[in-house]
Every structure is written in C-alpha cells, then in structure tokens.
Amino acid sequence: MRPPPPIGLLAELTHRCPLRCPYCSNPVDLARRSAELDTDTWRRVFREAADLGILHVHLSGGEPTARADIVELTRAATEAGLYTNLITSGVGLKQDRLEALATAGLDHLQLSVQDVLETEADRVAGRRGAHAENRSVAGWTVAAGLPLTINAVIHRGNIGRIEAIIDEAVALGARRIEIAHAQYYGWGLLNRAALLPEREETLLARTVVERAQARLEGAIVIDYVAPDQFARHPKPCMSGWGRRFIVVTPTGRALPCHAAESIPSLEFWTVRDRSLGDIWERSPAFAAFRGTEWMREPCASCPRKEVDFGGCRCQAHALTGDASNTDPACIWSPGRDAIRSAPPAHRRKQVVYRKYGQARQSPVNRR
C-alpha cells in the first residue's frame, strides 16, 4: 500500500556550526564538509520533495548559513514551490546575506537563542560574542519583513529564566516562540546528566509558560515542547514514523527522524542513489516502524496507539536497548525508570562541548 504523502522535509544542510552547544541533537560523529551533498543534488531533492506533496522545507544543520550556497539553495527550494524556513543561530550571518535570503524568497526565519544573560548564553554556545551576533540577526530579520520565531532549548542552566526569554522574544519582534525542553539525542544524550533540570523546576516551567500564553495572547504565539521525564505519555514523535516527515542528512541519507541513525538495525537509503519518492514509499528504514503493525505490548492493544504512535523509537532504543519497545516516557512502559535515571555511560556531570572527532572517545551514538 502506498503511504500518504509527507508534508515536511528537514534538510540538514551541514553539521558545521560555529557554536558548540552541549544539548545539540546532531550525532556525536559529525559529518565533514567534504562528505556533504552538493548544490545540484539538493536542488533535485527540493524538486522531488515538492512533487511528492511536501509543503515545508526546514533548512537546518548544524548551522545552515555555514553553507556558501545557502542563498542558492533557498532560491531553489522556493522555486520548487516549498515554504522555506531557515533554522539558524544567526552566528556568522551578515546583514547583506540575510537580505539576499529574503530576496531569494525565504518565507520564515527561526532563530535559536541560548539564554537572556549574555555571559550564560555565550558559555552554553561555547563562543564569546554569540549572544550579541544572534540579537543583531533578530533585528535584521524583522527589518527585512521576515516572520521570526525564537527557539529556546530549555535545560538545567536556563530553566529559571523562561519568562524572561519569552519577554525578550516579544521585545525582539518575534511572532512565535518555541520553549522546547532539550531532547536527549546525540550530544544531548551524551550530556544528559549535566543538562536535566530538577523535577520541581520542570513542573514549574509548565505553569510559567501557561501564564505567559494567557498574558501574551495576540502578541506572540508560544509553543511548548514538554519534557519527557515527567510526562504521562510520550510525544507523537515526528507525528508518527514515516507518516509526515523526511530528514535528509548532510551526506544525503534519508531518515524518518533526525536521530534515527542511532538505531543500528535500520537500513537507510541515500538521495545520491534514489529519488525522495522512491525512498518514502520503499526504503526499509521508513517501513520499519510505519503504522502500528510493528508494535508490541503495551502499545499493540493501547487505545492511544494512533495518538502517540508508541512515542520515540530512538529514545526507546537508547534507554531500553530495543527500538521496538514502548517509549519509556510512557507511564505504561516497563522501562519507565530509564527516563529519569540515565544509563551509567551517560552519567557524567561535566559537559562535553560539541566538536569534531569526539565519536572515537564516546560510548554513545556512533553511526
């Protein structure tokens, strides 16, 4: 049976990034520039995406503006008929280049911020001056007439300043803000023990966000990505495996989710050899957990199986050792305890900053 068409493409254009955030969800084994897809291949992928029924393309990374051809790629995606969203930290992006992106047809810019406190933001980003550059880009984005979303990844170090982060986003002119608790994949998983907030702080965060949503209705849209540690049920990860989204990595592998390479049993196809439509319909990795046939108990007989699709396959693999198990974020998961107590390999308090060459030393997330 042919699966219904996808709606979103996450184009991870590069793993290169001037920042070194320890919560990054990129794999620990980062792809190098020489292994990246070229401009023409991405152009073809964007056309195939639009033909397949995809509406949104998220130009992401790493830092997508580290690609010398980012303006050309944006134009290609726009000309293919896709809604283009640039996901950037803004660091290294100059005003004339941002204006060129707007002229190329960029529809929206999503700017990640680390904190409201400059010293803290620069410390987490692992780069002095990152905060100041980032705020300049926010100003240029609004001045260029582009809709702006602010994205803040929440962890132990900034969870007490969520309200200030939201208020700053309003002041910067953002139409939308995502307050997203860190997702523990890649570097985030490696640093989980150092990043996880305390239970009380996590519970308070929701109240802070709900109060802000009420106070700021009409001024800014606040999207909240809840933390898994104290949830009752898992999130419908990627809106269901192989159901709505395709991720293409810097080297061209097509994934059902950006962390899927952490599951060693999956066979991924690459856009270098195949069309996106062929991959969507026939690749083993997309078929592996599509629908509900693959489920075990307690998912198989669960009334929520079409609501959350068993949660996140990568988290099930990382924390229970088997990707077909129920996501341990679910209260009905036999592996539930794993979500709050990291396995020993991840139990370090010292953060590891994102960098090339770490994979050789790391016990987790080899590709």
Binding site: L55, G81, P147, E217
Partner: protein, 75 residues
C-alpha cells in the same frame, strides 16, 4: 497561502503549521495583498458573490481576527 496539489486544496502555511482552508477563507485571503483596505476587500467580495455586505464584513473580520491572534496575518 498556497496551493497543495497533492491533496487538492489551498493551505495556509507557517512553520510547524498547516491550516486547511475552506473556499470562503481562500477568497478572503486571496484579496489580502497588503495594499487593499479591509473595506475595499469586503466591497469586492460582496460584489463578486452578490452577498450582503454586513454579513461578508462580519465573516471576514472573524477570520482575519482569528488569524491575527495566531500571528498569521498582520492587521
């Protein structure tokens, strides 16, 4: 707003959002070009569909008000 040929509809897009549109919303949003005033858009719709101007104004205001709250349109 753009056409979604794979699913035979018009959609309103924002990051992480796809709003399905009904034919009325499509007609209203097509006319929102950043130039025309609300009154001009209502006049045009009332003429084009031979509809009561007050009714058109109320419907269009409700639609645009809701989208403005979602920060999807600027009023």
């Amino acid at each position: 707003m753009r056409e979604d040929p794979a699913r035979g509809r018009f959609v309103l897009l924002a990051p992480e959002r796809v709003f399905d549109t009904n034919p009325t919303a499509v007609e209203v949003l097509r006319r929102c070009d950043g130039e025309r005033t609300f009154a001009a858009i209502v006049d045009d719709l009332a003429t084009a569909f031979n509809a009561d101007r007050m009714r058109v104004a109320a419907d269009a205001a409700a639609l645009l008000g809701e989208l403005a709250t979602k920060r999807m349109v600027e009023l």
